[in-house]
Amino acid sequence: MVNAADLLVDRVTKTYGANTVLDDISISVQPGEFMTFLGPSGCGKTTLLRMLGGFAEPDQGRIVIAGKDVTSLPPNRRDCGFVFQSYALFPHMTVAANVGYGLKLRKTPKAELQKRVGEVLEIVGLSEFAGRYPRQMSGGQQQRVAIARAIAIRPSVLLLDEPLSNLDAKLRERIRFELRDLQKQLGITTVFVTHDQDEAMAVSDRIVVMSRGRLEQVGTPTEIYNAPASLFVADFVGINNILDGRMIDATGTFARAETGFGALEGIGAGQAPGSAVKITLRPESIVVAQGTSNDGAGFPGTIQMAAFLGSTARYEIRLRDGSILKVAAPRGALLPPGSDVTCRWAPEDVRIVQ
């Protein structure tokens, strides 16, 4: 199914009373793209998604779907498939009737309707449940009915509001990939809302990171993870060490900063020498070696906490000035708490910001 759909959020603002829920948001979603809105609870993800679906109207700005300005069109004239967190299935209708609901409203001939319902149920793997009522199905199955119902009308965009959050962890991971496969197979432009960054990383083409109604960063999962545009993104996406420092100088894209445990080098530019900066460093970028080094390279510390997590080990290491580094080490001998160690990392893994 080739899809010419495209979705544009153009300078959208929304306030509830004195509370600015969305602040000048602009996003463009490419045809066939899987876009995720990621952010902590209350950052406005649902509000924005509901605006796309036609359940709320922006105070300012426009929403364009498939080249058409839909800003003040009601949901039934938008051609969006919406999947709700609560699934919102029609309890009094069978699975087949739920899935066929939108087609029936479109006056699809009966034979065609049955064929389409059959196809969609096949896609989500629920063919043998066509005659059941929603309450006779498990949460995961209900979820798939909700998705089937939304895609049965072949909408230009598929909107999903935390569709997996009511499922248990194992199932969530499986359906996450099923959803991604389905989306690729149909080539349908998709906007997915979640506050779970693993989920966002796993399924998205691009991620919109939001915080308190503001757009923090738009980028691919790799960009968001490796090159966070703000301290908020660095902190929110994945685990990060965030340390205080003071700018020394910069040469090209690299900068040097002074910290309580010594001077270090990292990617960063534009900060005035002497200004306060934050330094971010991913736990998996840190290499831990036992003992104190004699050559002066690396930073000495003591293991405070050590945890074995199966595929990796987690450490918390206290550096000379008392600051704590979170470290994720590949599997190997687990160093006991109290061990003296040396921490090293490459300057490319350090970011000096703000």
Partner: protein, 276 residues
């Protein structure tokens, strides 16, 4: 941790003593529900107005039913002419009000939701008196007695419709309606296809309650009625008043049978209405 065997006495000791009280209270309740209709039945088929042992007929005679059948049927008809429009009015008024109270936030919402319960709290005679001054003497007098009684019954029974509707609507996931909208339904279409089928049982329950309230109403009808309107309770009252307890009992018996019949039918419908 080792658990000791649970003895029955250990279990019963944590239960309140209702175990021993409820057979007595239940028996008492059943007797007081069952005996009065039996007395009525006996009285209506008795040859004389005094009963054997207070509950059994002395001699058997269907004179009351054969002689007064027409009058009994007429009062059933009059009751229906009032109850059916009252039920329909309650539904037409109650459904939008209940929906608004559940779904919309509006100024005065709290006051309205208290207000709709008021007719249940007021003594009926007080309401009846107010309605009488409005309909018999006041500006609404030209509407006539039938309309007055129907409207009066609607007012007092509206809480019986609205309350079940509110609790049913509260059970419905708002996003189900939204899902219908995004699938292409208009606002009314979403209501008719997604909300309405789910509240049919409560609509029928509300109808049964309003119906029961209407056909058993006495005070409001009495104060608003004219001689040509004789609902079942009014007919019973007149029969007893004119000194014929046997006739009164016969009309009351007919009323009972009729009311129970209608309510049973509605109860069955309620069960059938939930097919999923």
């Amino acid at each position: 941790m080792r658990r000791g065997p649970r003895t029955p006495s250990a279990i019963s000791s944590v239960l309140p003593p209702f175990r021993w009280i409820f057979p007595l209270t239940t028996l008492g309740l059943v007797l007081f529900i069952v005996i009065p209709p039996i007395t009525l039945l006996s009285l209506s088929v008795s040859e004389r107005f005094d009963l054997a042992y207070g509950i059994l007929p002395s001699g058997l005679s269907f004179e009351m039913y054969t002689q007064w059948g027409g009058r009994i049927l007429r009062s059933i008809r009059d009751s229906l002419f009032i109850a059916v429009p009252a039920v329909i009015l309650c539904l037409l008024i109650g459904l939008p009000v209940a929906y608004a109270l559940v779904r919309f936030k509006f100024a005065g919402r709290g006051i309205v939701s208290e207000l709709v319960n008021l007719p249940m709290v007021f003594p009926p005679i007080v309401l009846a008196f107010g309605l009488m001054s409005l309909f018999k003497l006041g500006p609404l007098a030209p509407l006539g007695a039938w309309t007055a009684i129907i409207l009066g019954h609607t007012v007092v029974s509206i809480p019986f419709m609205i309350r079940p509707l509110i609790s049913a609507l509260e059970q419905i996931d708002r996003s189900a309606e939204e899902a219908a909208r995004s699938l292409g339904a208009g606002p009314l279409g979403a209501f008719m296809t997604v909300v309405l089928p789910n509240i049919v049982p409560s609509i029928i329950t509300g109808m049964a309650l309003v119906f029961a309230r209407s056909i058993s109403d006495f005070e409001i009808t009495l104060l608003l009625t004219t001689p040509e309107i004789s609902t079942m309770p009014i007919a019973i009252y007149h029969a007893f008043e004119s000194g014929s307890t046997r006739l009164g009992a016969a009309v009351a018996m007919a009323t009972n049978l009729f009311a129970v019949g209608v309510i049973v039918i509605l109860e069955v419908l309620v069960r059938r209405a939930r097919w999923w």
